[in-house]
């Protein structure tokens, strides 16, 4: 069995509950979230689930560099990009084909592209 990270990327606006961000409307956003909940329950029932979660917007991120004598704390996300990770799953699957099939359903549920990446080991 291999563990895979399935991540979804988006912009700051996608996190705005009042407008519904990239979902189009607050209603569409709620629908996507409800569908993602159902998908998560299925992952648990079928034994693929390790962990999953949605993140708050990239503006809430803080970067810490502890390599020097004193830790340096910087406001904002690590990557200088318009799009940032918005949520992720960690699943356990026998092979990439299984993971890709699960990712396809995840993508449908959350209305976004899903990146699949294996963990080391």
């Amino acid at each position: 069995m291999t563990q895979y990270l399935m991540s979804v990327h988006g912009t700051e606006a996608d996190h705005d509950m009042t407008t519904g961000g990239g979902y189009g409307s607050p209603e569409a956003m709620r629908e996507a979230m409800a569908e993602t909940d159902r998908y998560n329950k299925r992952l648990q029932a079928e034994g693929y689930w390790v962990f999953a979660g949605g993140l708050k917007g990239p503006s809430t991120a803080t970067v810490v560099d502890g390599q020097g004598a004193q830790p340096v704390v910087t406001d904002g996300p690590y990557l200088e990009s318009k799009e940032h990770i918005g949520g992720f799953w960690i699943i356990e699957a026998p092979d990439l084909d299984t993971a890709l099939a699960l990712a396809a359903d995840a993508s449908k549920a959350c209305r976004g592209k899903v990146e699949v990446r294996p963990f080391e080991g």
């Binding site: 291999t2 026998p94 092979d95 990439l96 084909d97 890709l100 699949v116 990446r117 294996p118």
Partner: protein, 405 residues
């Protein structure tokens, strides 16, 4: 001794058997690197042993057994060196000997691994030629005009991804098979076209990619005898390749209508026609089958003037429903010109968004010539010459331009 020993026989056996050996070992050991290294070692042993004793009656079985033993040796050595691999000590040769008959599951698994959609397309092509076709990295690099280290890296990266991401070594589920098979057929078709369109002037060391593609298509046909698109692709390649000798004369491309049909390879044409008939009987049409049928109509005509253009057009109409892209529309327009006239065809061609495609310019130039718009035709020939990198095609287009009145 079953066969005479010589370098050519040896090279042929190695190339034919390589995919089978690697596939069998990859399934048994679950690791492409181990499979490849062991296969390579077995070939070295074979060179020495067969030179002395002659080629054994079942060289493929011999190579698979020898390579399997080499892989076990290596795993044992490594497990002694590295405590982490102690488990490998438990590996014993308890798998039943591979049947060398019609059951070819391992090679089929290998094809789907090599052509997995999670790999970049250019890596799929390289991996398929390397692992299934048994070509060496330098051969593949030369064939695609890529520097050897770059090609080596492309293959290494792809194998590393297969390993890290656990791309499985299995035939896809029935539901996924059509899409996955499509990716496999696309690789074979690309290999063929790469060889076919390159035309003349190949260096003698260059592997003939068209021959390789036909060999791969024959393997697929053997592995998936009931998939009509596989039969269709093989038929398409055979019917195209049958015209190879007539495609060039004096360093110039010869279009289908002007080719010396006596120079066509009749046995390839007959084999291709039989496959097309089989596809028609199966009646599950697809892209490659329709393309093969179009080529069957062309190779059925004793003279260019005898071509059944209505039939060709009907097939293109069918193809366009499956594949509504502009390249199909362009090829269909050539048939439209024969059935409804060049002005009707020109109106279609003018609307296609293919201005960077040499064939669009070449087709447009011919149609403009036929409707008598010589000045515009001249410009289009120039644009076509500029857009193609193929010297034989440039020579042909330049002559056509000169012949304009």
């Amino acid at each position: 001794m079953d066969q005479a020993y010589d370098d050519a026989a040896l090279a042929r056996i190695f190339r034919d058997e390589y995919g089978r050996v690697v596939a069998s070992l990859a399934r048994r050991f679950g690791d492409l690197d181990i499979a490849e290294e062991a296969a390579g070692e077995a070939l070295v042993v074979a060179v020495e042993k067969w030179a002395a004793d002659g080629i054994p009656p079942n060289p493929g079985g011999w190579l698979t057994t020898t390579a399997g033993n080499k892989a076990l040796d290596r795993l044992r050595r490594e497990s002694l060196r590295d405590a982490k691999h102690q488990a490998a000590l438990m590996i014993t040769d308890d798998t039943p000997p591979e049947p060398t008959g019609p059951v070819e599951d391992d090679r089929l698994r290998l094809v789907f691994t090599c052509c997995h959609p999670a790999l970049p397309p250019e890596a799929r092509v390289a991996l398929t030629l390397r692992l299934l076709g048994g070509l060496t990295v330098p051969e593949i690099a030369r064939a695609f005009f890529v520097a050897e280290p770059a090609m080596g890296q492309r293959i290494t990266r792809a194998k590393a991804k297969i390993k890290a991401a656990h791309i499985p070594f299995k035939v896809p589920a029935v539901a996924d098979l059509p899409a996955r098979l499509d990716a496999v057929l696309a690789v074979v078709y690309l290999v063929f076209n790469e060889g076919y369109l390159a035309g003349e002037g190949d260096s003698p060391t260059r592997v003939d990619l068209s021959d390789e593609a036909i060999r791969l298509a024959r393997i697929l046909r053997q592995l998936l005898p009931r998939e009509p698109e596989v039969a269709g692709l093989l038929a398409l390649l055979l019917l195209t390749d049958a015209r190879r000798a007539s495609r060039f004369a004096g360093g110039e491309l010869v279009p289908l209508s002007e080719q010396d049909r006596a120079g066509w390879d009749r046995s390839l044409i007959e084999e291709g026609h039989a496959l097309v008939r089989e596809c028609l009987a199966t009646n599950r049409p697809g892209r490659y089958q329709i393309l093969a049928a179009i080529n069957a109509v062309h190779t059925d005509a004793a003279r260019a003037a005898d071509t059944d253009w209505l039939q060709v057009l009907a097939l293109y109409d069918q193809l366009q429903r499956i594949d509504p892209g502009p390249v199909v529309a362009l090829n269909r327009a050539v048939a439209v010109a024969e059935v409804d006239g060049p002005d009707v065809a020109l109106a279609i061609v003018d609307r296609l968004p293919l201005t960077t495609y040499h064939a669009w310019h070449a087709t447009r130039a011919e149609l403009l010539r036929r409707v008598g718009r010589s000045a515009e035709a001249r410009e289009e020939y120039d644009a076509a010459v500029a857009a193609t990198g193929n010297a034989a095609e440039q020579a042909y287009l330049t002559r056509r331009r000169r012949q304009l009145v």
